[in-house]
Amino acid sequence: MPAIVTKGLTKKFGDLVAVDRIDIEIEEGELFGLLGPNGAGKTTFIHMLSTILPPTEGTAEVAGFDIRQSADSVRAAIGIVFQDPSLDSRLTGRENLDFHGRMYGLTKEQRDERINKVLELVGLKDRADSLVETYSSGMKRRLEMARGLMHRPEILFLDEPTLGLDAQTRRSIWEYIRMLNDVENVTIILTTHYIEEADYLCDRVAIIDYGKIIALGKPEALKDELKGDIVSLKVGEPEKYLEVLKGNELVEDGKIVDGLLHLRVGNGEEAIPKLIEVVRGRGDQVYAANLRRPTLEDVFIHYTGRVIREEAPESIARLRARFWGRR
């Protein structure tokens, strides 16, 4: 049985379509990533799956339960770590876990056993009885993940689990996420707008933009679909040379992203000098050149013509619309 099946799942906030008829299947035990820019609909998507938001159209089965018909059964079967902090900082770590255990109806023995287990998993045992307000941001994140696992959910949602954390803490959180997926045998669905996070952690990645899934597969497979290498060139008139170089036999595809020429070529090392020659042959100059193996970012660029990280004014407007739409 798949952990999650969505059927035409859609959410509209007024005129804005935040999630647009998504159909996917996520397997049990998978570490599944939703990668996309801010405002792409990732959070809305998992809020629907966790029954926080009702869908406008379509539905989904989560752990075998329909999110519309059996919201309570869905809630008991999932754990969720929200994008923003959601701990009670005036309680201790242990008290936060105890609160959660009781809300999910665990008995005293179950709570004691699980609290010790999950504290150990996330390495917070020796700080369990300190107030959460004394924790670092990485510790808070770990405590939230531990809390999400308290009631042995079949599925754990992590919404931007490393947002706002420094690079070192991010790495350590990644290791915890992998280990929890492994040790607790829980299906994990995480959202992220960090390319490396999706690439490094996830068994499969769905790339999402404007509420639609535009690509889905193993990170390696997605990158392999873009055969060859990516060459970026900085030139004076990118529009002109996009036309010129697209006609070149070496170039399979080209786009302008952030004022740079992004060219997909078969063999980057050999193509760079030839491409530079073409530009110079027309009396212009190449100011900078870069060669790399395709990343998930390039997959995103391939399908959308934009980079994930850019905070397009458009996407901020979408966020704002969503914010007000929710009131």
């Binding site: 009670d88 309680l91 809300m103 999910y104």
Partner: protein, 264 residues
């Protein structure tokens, strides 16, 4: 499972209350100052044979404490929304109505603890001879507890209803003060709103003031408490009880209705 959830919501309110030392102290000291300074001071001015202002006012200050503490308890919901903890509560497999019950019990208990401490202070006044009230028997104690519960439940529900629709932690005390100040002033806590049979004769209030006081549900709560403490009340105790019970039930339903729509 449900009882467990209600219990832990209540337990959390208790921990919050006991850990906020400043709040505990101020919640006890403020009403005590009302009694010890305003009460004693005004008593010197207004005392007449057979009328001790301090003992008249004491049950009113208990009512005030319950009113303020109960209504303000809604702020915890606003903070939970601000700090994200409300999401943790709402995503649990616990229905809104049970969450509301847990919050009502938590707010009620903290308000009643404060009311009880104040009653002890009044007992102390009796011991040192400032007031001359009877020592309450079991029936009076029961009456006090029942009225304290009804007053607390009503106003905690109002606080939760307001907290369900207000997002801003700064706006909440402003709105609630705007609401509870007139309720307090018009409740007969500070001055008699009419004749008290079996108690001293008192002048009559202007008609508008008397009418407003009669429309105020807290009037009946204070009257019921006063009946238990002094043995004299403006209305029959059963009337007080009936009005307050209907009001309580209405407010719980209103609070429950608005709380159902709460979103983190």
């Amino acid at each position: 499972m449900t009882a467990q959830a209600i219990y832990v919501l209540w337990l959390r309110d208790m921990k919050w209350f006991l850990r906020a030392k400043a709040r505990v102290i101020s919640s006890v000291v403020t009403p005590f100052l009302w009694l010890a300074i305003i009460g004693v001071g005004l008593n010197s001015a207004f005392a007449r044979p057979g009328f001790n202002y301090l003992e008249f006012m004491a049950p009113g200050i208990v009512g005030m404490t319950l009113l303020f503490s109960s209504t303000m308890s809604g702020i915890s919901v606003i903070w939970d929304k601000q700090f994200g903890f409300m999401k943790e509560i709402l995503v649990a497999p616990v229905s809104r109505i049970h969450i509301m019950i847990g919050k009502v019990l938590g707010g009620m208990t903290t308000a009643m603890l404060q009311g009880a401490l104040l009653l002890l202070a009044i007992g102390l006044f009796k011991v040192i001879g400032l007031v001359d009230i009877r020592t309450p028997g079991a029936a009076q104690l029961l009456q006090i507890v029942v009225f304290m519960i009804l007053i607390s439940v009503s106003f905690v529900s109002i606080g939760l209803a307001l907290a369900s629709v207000i997002e801003d932690p700064v706006a909440f005390p402003v709105v609630t003060n705007f609401l509870i100040m007139p309720i307090f002033f018009l409740s007969g806590a500070l001055y008699p709103i009419g004749q008290i049979p079996g108690y001293s004769q008192i002048g009559t209030l202007p008609g508008w003031l008397s009418s407003l006081a009669h429309l105020n549900p807290l009037t009946y709560g204070v009257d019921g408490l006063r009946g238990a403490v002094l043995g004299a009340s403006s209305f029959p105790i059963l009337l007080d009880l009936a009005v307050l019970a209907v009001f309580s039930l209405t407010m719980v339903l209103l609070g429950g209705y608005l709380f159902r729509k709460i979103s983190a």
